[in-house]
C-alpha cells in the first residue's frame, strides 16, 4: 500500500512541481528511469518468486540507476554517448521484457 502511495505521490509531485531538468542531467534522466524500471520489475518478479528483499531492491535500484548514468556519462566523455545509451536501453529493455514475462507467467499463467 505504501508503495502504491509512493507511486501516486511521485506522479503527483512530478505533475505539480513541474521541475525543469538541468541541462547537465538531461541525457541521464531517461536512462536512469529505464534502469529504475528494470529494478522495479525485477523486484516485482522477485516478490512473486518469494525471494524479494527490500534491502536488495533498494541497493539494486540505486546501483542500476547510478551505473546506467555512469555508463552514459562515460560514453559522453568517450564520444559514443548516443550509441552507449542506446546499448544500455536495449539491455535494460531486454531485462524488463524477461522480467515482465516472468511476472506474466506468474499472474496469468501464460
Amino acid at each position: 500500500m505504501i508503495a502504491i502511495f509512493g507511486l501516486v505521490i511521485g506522479v503527483a509531485a512530478g505533475l505539480i512541481l513541474e521541475p525543469e531538468v538541468p541541462d547537465s542531467m538531461e541525457p541521464y534522466l531517461p536512462i536512469a528511469v529505464v534502469a529504475a524500471l528494470d529494478a522495479t520489475f525485477g523486484a516485482l518478479r522477485a516478490y512473486l518468486d518469494d525471494i524479494f528483499d527490500d534491502k536488495v531492491f533498494v541497493v539494486s535500484f540505486l546501483s542500476n540507476v547510478i551505473i546506467a548514468a555512469l555508463i552514459v556519462y562515460l560514453g559522453d566523455k568517450l564520444g559514443v554517448g548516443a550509441q552507449l545509451s542506446t546499448g544500455v536501453v536495449v539491455v535494460l529493455g531486454i531485462r524488463i521484457f524477461s522480467n515482465v514475462a516472468a511476472i506474466r507467467r506468474h499472474i496469468f499463467h501464460a
Partner: protein
C-alpha cells in the same frame, strides 16, 4: 463423501482432468485448459478464492493427491528438468516454502486455507521425491511449454494471492524505502515525459536527421536572404524610378504648362500691363500693331491678348482687314486693348521709349495709354494648330 464420487465420475469422463474443481477452473478460465491443470495447488487457489468450498475441496484434493495422481507431480518434476538455468528452480524450491511463508502473512484469510495448504504442500513434497526418479525423464522429453504451464499453474495461486496481499496488507516499515524509490521512479518518469513533450518533435530525432534538417534550414535561410536582398534592391530601384518618374512627370507638367502658355492653349494670369491704343483715324494697321507686338516680345512679354478676343502667339499672323485688323482670322477693331503678361516696368518702357510704339502711333494720329497692373488676366485662347508636315527631329 460426495466429492470423491464426483472425482471418480470426472475421471471416467476425462482421464486427465481428474478433479471436479479443476473442471470448474477450466470452465472459469480458459487459460487453464491444459491437462496438467489438475495440480493440487490450483485447487488451492480456488480454495483461496472460493472460501466456502475450501474445506471440502481441499480434503478431496488431499485425498486425490495422496491417492497418487501421477501427472501433477510429474509436471512439477519436469519444471526443474527443462529450464534449470532460469528462475524455475527458484520457483520449484520456494513453492512449498512460499506456501508456508504466505500463510502466516495471510492471516486475513480464513483459517481453513491455512490448514489446507500445508496438507497439499505435504502432498507435493511427498509426491516430488518419489516422482523425480522415474517420470522426470519422460516429462523432460515432453513439451517444455506444457511444463512451463504447469509451473505457472503452480505459481499462479501464489501470485494472485500475493498481488491481493500487496493491495490489502497493512503498511509496514519495510515498504517505506520501496515506496520512496517507487515515488522517485514515478517522479522521474513524469519529469522525463514532460521534458520530452516540452522539447518538441526533434527530441527523438537522430543526429544525422538533425544535421540534415539544419543543413536544409540553412539552405532555406540563405535562399530567403538572397531573395530578400533581391527584393530590397528591386524596391530601391522602383523607389528610384518612381522618384525619377515623379520628377519627369513634374518636368513634363511644367513643360506642358510653359508650352501651353506660349502656344496660347490655356489662359494665363500674372503681372503685366494694359495698353490702350485709340485710333480715331483708323491709321493704325497690321504693320503698326505688329511693331507693337514685336516690341512687347522684345521686352519679354509672355502672353499677349488683343481686345480680349485674339490671343497672340508665335504663329499668329496679322493682316489688314476692311473692318479692322485680322488676328489669326479674328477681326479686331480700334480701340485696341492689349493685355500683356510680363515684367510690367520693362514692358511699359518698351512701349513708351522715345522713337518707339507710342511715337509711331501718335504720329499716325492715335494715342497710346499704358497702365502697369499687378494682375493681368489673359483669357482668350489661340487657334489650335496641329503640325501637318513638321515632325520632331532627334
Amino acid at each position: 463423501m460426495p466429492d470423491p464420487n464426483e472425482t471418480r465420475e470426472a475421471d471416467a469422463v476425462e482421464p486427465e482432468s481428474t478433479e471436479p474443481e479443476a473442471v470448474e477452473d477450466q470452465a472459469a478460465e480458459p487459460e487453464s485448459s491444459k491437462p496438467e491443470s489438475t495440480e493440487p495447488e490450483s485447487t488451492e487457489d480456488e480454495a483461496a478464492e472460493l472460501e466456502s468450498m475450501t474445506a471440502e475441496s481441499a480434503d478431496a484434493d488431499g485425498s486425490e493427491s495422496d491417492a497418487g495422481d501421477d501427472e501433477a507431480p510429474e509436471a512439477e518434476s519436469a519444471e526443474t528438468g527443462p529450464e534449470p538455468a532460469d528462475a524455475e528452480p527458484a520457483d520449484a524450491e520456494p513453492d512449498p516454502a512460499s506456501v508456508a511463508d504466505d500463510e502466516p502473512a495471510a492471516d486475513d484469510d480464513t483459517e481453513s486455507t491455512e490448514h489446507d495448504e500445508p496438507e497439499t504442500s505435504e502432498s507435493e513434497s511427498e509426491s516430488e521425491p518419489t516422482d523425480e526418479t522415474e517420470p522426470a525423464a519422460d516429462d523432460a522429453e515432453a513439451e517444455p511449454e506444457a511444463a512451463a504451464a504447469t509451473s505457472d499453474d503452480a505459481a499462479r495461486p501464489d501470485a494472485r494471492r500475493k498481488v491481493l496481499q500487496v493491495l490489502t496488507a497493512r503498511p509496514g516499515r519495510a515498504q517505506i524505502p520501496v515506496a520512496i524509490l517507487l515515488g522517485v521512479l514515478a517522479f522521474g518518469v513524469v519529469v522525463q515525459g514532460r521534458t520530452v513533450s516540452d522539447s518538441g518533435d526533434f527530441a527523438g530525432a537522430r543526429r544525422g536527421d538533425l544535421i540534415q534538417l539544419l543543413d536544409s534550414l540553412d539552405a532555406a535561410r540563405d535562399r530567403a536572404e538572397t531573395q530578400l536582398q533581391d527584393l530590397q534592391s528591386k524596391k530601391r530601384e522602383l523607389e528610384n524610378s518612381s522618384t525619377r518618374t515623379q520628377v519627369a512627370l513634374q518636368d513634363a507638367r511644367d513643360e506642358a504648362n510653359t508650352l501651353a502658355i506660349l502656344s496660347g492653349t490655356v489662359g494665363a494670369t500674372g503681372p503685366g500691363i494694359e495698353i490702350r491704343i485709340d485710333d480715331p483715324a483708323s491709321q493704325v494697321g497690321a504693320s503698326t500693331l505688329l511693331n507693337v507686338i514685336e516690341e512687347l516680345r522684345d521686352a519679354g512679354a509672355e502672353a499677349i491678348e488683343i481686345n480680349d478676343t485674339a490671343r497672340v502667339v508665335a504663329q499668329t499672323y496679322l493682316a489688314d482687314d476692311p473692318d479692322g485688323i485680322s488676328v489669326d482670322g479674328t477681326v479686331v477693331k480700334p480701340p485696341f486693348n492689349i493685355d500683356v503678361i510680363g515684367h510690367p516696368h520693362t514692358l511699359s518702357e518698351a512701349v513708351e521709349f522715345p522713337g518707339g510704339v507710342t511715337e509711331i502711333v501718335e504720329s499716325l494720329g492715335g494715342s497710346v495709354d499704358v497702365n502697369e497692373r499687378e494682375t493681368v488676366n489673359v483669357t482668350s485662347l489661340a487657334v489650335r494648330r496641329e503640325p501637318q508636315y513638321a515632325q520632331p527631329a532627334d
